[in-house]
């Protein structure tokens, strides 16, 4: 694109972000403040992830962008176009083919490899924000690893509901030191973060924080011995590819309670269909769903 540098950001900004990224990798799970720039997309729409991707991306990379697990959601399309336009890089929807995957709200079903980097868009990097709104105070709590209040909050859920009632952005402990927000991925995806072979980078543009999880790093979802962490998914099979282990979206098909469950990870679903897997292709009734 004329008049703009490769991948939009100027080199000085990239250096600043790169320095922050290296510190983030060196201190797994710690939020590193950075001089987040104003981007041509709104804050809250992936500006942190975009800045991280722009600082990491090279001409030889192949980029995949997903939102809600899908390559074709409007915001994913918009961000993929942004990089195709400003960096001229190859883009793909194939998880296996990508060298960099920018994501909002999902981790792909297919296990990522050592030669891949996943960049998460993060709206709220501070896992303690719902308990303590002051960032000056939460910074102090991280410094002292003072995370008792989060355990109390989870335990209150157990007392009230019988189990922890957080279903997404479920807090994790990284490298047994930092409490970290995994971004609003469903808790179903949390276990994928543990000992992941790929490097995981997190960018929060509006809140001006970058953090990271190196490959093969211990990442535990907070829990209690008598109430171990467990994941949930809709107890159905994908109507398109028949998968019984993927995370499913629920699509409402009529106003009588009819619905269809399909893979949230569209690439996973399509490649399974290409391999010959099929689902019923039909909606199910309310009774069957419940």
């Amino acid at each position: 694109m004329n008049g703009y540098n490769f991948a939009y950001l100027d080199e000085q900004t990239k250096r600043m972000i790169r320095r922050a990224l290296l510190k983030a990798v060196a201190i797994p799970g710690h939020q590193v403040p950075f001089g987040s720039r104003e981007m041509p997309l709104p804050y809250g729409w992936g500006t942190g992830g975009i800045q991280v991707t722009a600082s990491v991306l090279g001409a030889g990379d192949t980029l995949k962008v997903i939102d809600q697990g899908a390559d074709d959601t409007t915001n994913a399309v918009s961000i993929r176009r942004f990089f195709a336009r400003t960096a001229g890089v190859a883009t793909t929807t194939d998880t296996a083919e990508a060298t960099i995957i920018q994501t909002r709200h999902r981790i792909p079903e297919k296990q990522l490899r050592e030669d891949q980097i996943i960049v998460y868009q993060v709206p709220q990097p501070e896992p303690l924000s719902k308990l303590e709104p002051s960032r000056a105070e939460t910074r102090r709590m991280h410094a002292l690893a003072e995370y008792g209040s989060m355990h109390v909050r989870l335990y209150e859920d157990i007392t009230r509901f019988g189990h922890v009632a957080i279903s997404y952005d479920y807090p994790v402990m990284v490298n047994r030191r930092y409490l970290m927000a995994p971004s609003p991925i469903p808790a179903f995806d949390n276990p994928k973060m543990h000992m992941m072979p790929a490097l995981q980078l997190f960018g929060a543009g509006r809140e001006k924080r970058i953090y990271a999880i190196p490959p093969y790093t211990d990442v535990r979802s907070l829990d209690f011995d008598d109430h171990p962490f467990r994941t949930t998914r809709a107890p159905q099979c994908c109507a398109l590819c028949g998968a019984d282990d993927s995370y499913l979206d629920e699509v409402v098909t009529d106003d009588q309670g009819g619905r269809m469950f399909v893979c949230s990870d569209t690439d996973h679903c399509e490649s399974r269909q290409a391999e010959g897997h099929t689902g019923t292709g039909e909606p199910i009734t309310r009774e069957a769903a419940e």
Binding site: Y4, Y8, D10, P33, F34, G35, S36, R37, E38, M39, P40, P42, Y43, G44, W45, D67, Q68, G69, A70, D72, T73, T74, N75, A76, V77, S78, R81, R104, H105, R106, P123, S134, R135, A136, F161, G162, A165, S167, Y168, D169, P184, I185, P186, A187, R206, K208, T232, R233, A234, L240, Y247, L248, D249, E250, V251, T253, M260, V262, S264, E290
Partner: protein
């Protein structure tokens, strides 16, 4: 398969943009508005976009207003996103508002003063009656009467008070070597007055108005008097290292508000009035006044005041004054969140099943 639209995002975006362009233009039988018209006739919008967009360029601000269909926050966002790509050639020396070419200058604390009260182009004493003559276009107003300025320079009211030692000194006695820059360095606490004022100068006019208003209603009151509001043109100077002296690179319109606030003193220090300061691009009195009120409220720690009101909470004010950040995050709720919602659905269904089973077993036990 028709239930699951997995393709079509690209086309949808293209079509939406085409429709937006059509909507922006409106009825093509109505003449298209020009940037010169916006700049000349919607000047207060242009000023606000420059202030909140944090870039002084009336022409580009007019373009942003046009492109955003008059949506001021959207226009400020366009300007910000452009600003961030600009290289920095030099840093200006502080502008001297005492040397301002005054268009308007009023003080509420003196009846008259050197340089006089200059009412200037103000809405203050207009009666808010819709002027139907304006609807009938084509009649330029008669030229306004002019009078020679009463004095070549107009001393700041705060300098007059300062001469009697009645008001605290201006600014930090030990200023940082370089003022902070929120656009390069992330905010850290405690935040100095330099970055706080920067945040307010870029901040949302409505937010500053509400925060300033809240201090008047007792939420962190500061007993404000408008020492002075001045509006006019100020020269901007830079000192290129190769020249070693300052050169004038142009004029910008500024609005400055100096609030004179509640006095402070102690057994050892005679009482002095305190200051709240506002400085904004363009003609923007409401914002400059709100800024000055909030600036003074946030200085509670300097005067050992108990911080118990929203306007005194530096972290709250500074983090939430930026309408570009605010609009982005509020509006991002429009983005799909169905993966998260699905996880909530699973959780709530499970919890309801458990609650129903519990109720059933309790009922059974009772029977």
């Amino acid at each position: 398969m028709a239930y699951v639209a997995v393709k079509g995002g690209e086309r949808a975006i293209d079509n939406a943009h085409a429709w937006l362009a059509e909507d922006r233009r409106g009825d093509p039988s109505v003449p298209e508005i020009s940037l010169a018209q916006i700049q000349q006739q919607l000047g207060r919008s242009v000023d606000r976009v420059m202030a909140e967009g944090s870039l002084y360029d009336p022409h580009l601000a007019a373009l942003a207003v046009k492109q955003a269909q008059g949506d001021i926050i959207e226009a400020a966002f366009l300007l910000r996103a452009y600003r961030t790509t600009l290289p920095r050639f030099a840093y200006a020396t502080p502008v001297d508002t005492a040397a301002m070419q005054i268009r308007r200058r009023i003080s509420a604390v003196y009846k008259d003063l050197p340089g006089g009260q200059v009412l200037g182009p103000t809405y203050d004493y207009t009666h808010r009656l819709l002027d139907f003559a304006l609807a009938a276009e084509g009649h330029p107003p008669a030229p306004a009467a002019t009078a020679p300025a009463e004095a070549a320079t107009m001393p700041r009211v705060s300098d007059i008070l300062r001469g009697e030692d009645l008001i605290e000194p201006d600014g930090d006695p030990n200023p940082p070597a370089e003022p902070g820059d929120l656009t390069r360095e992330p905010l850290a606490f405690p935040a100095g007055r330099d970055v706080r004022l920067q945040a307010l100068a870029r901040g949302d006019e409505g937010f500053l108005l509400a925060m300033g208003y809240s201090t008047q209603r007792g939420w962190g009151g500061t007993h404000p008097f408008v020492g002075e509001i001045r509006v006019g043109e100020c020269a901007v100077e830079i000192t290129p290292p190769e020249l070693g002296f300052a050169i004038d690179i142009g004029d910008i319109t500024l609005t400055e508000c100096q609030m004179v606030n509640q006095f402070k003193g102690s057994k050892t220090k005679p009482p002095q009035f305190t200051r709240g300061y506002g400085l904004v691009f363009g003609h923007a009195e409401r914002k400059a006044m709100g800024m000055a009120l909030v600036d003074r409220a946030m200085r509670h720690d300097e005067f050992a005041e108990e911080p118990n009101a929203p306007a005194q909470n530096v972290e709250f004010v500074v983090y939430h004054s930026d309408n570009i950040e605010g609009t982005g995050f509020v509006e991002h709720l429009k983005l799909p969140h169905y993966v998260d919602f699905q996880s909530e659905l699973e959780t709530i269904r499970r919890m309801r099943r458990e609650a129903e089973a519990n109720a059933a077993s309790l009922k059974e036990a009772a029977e």
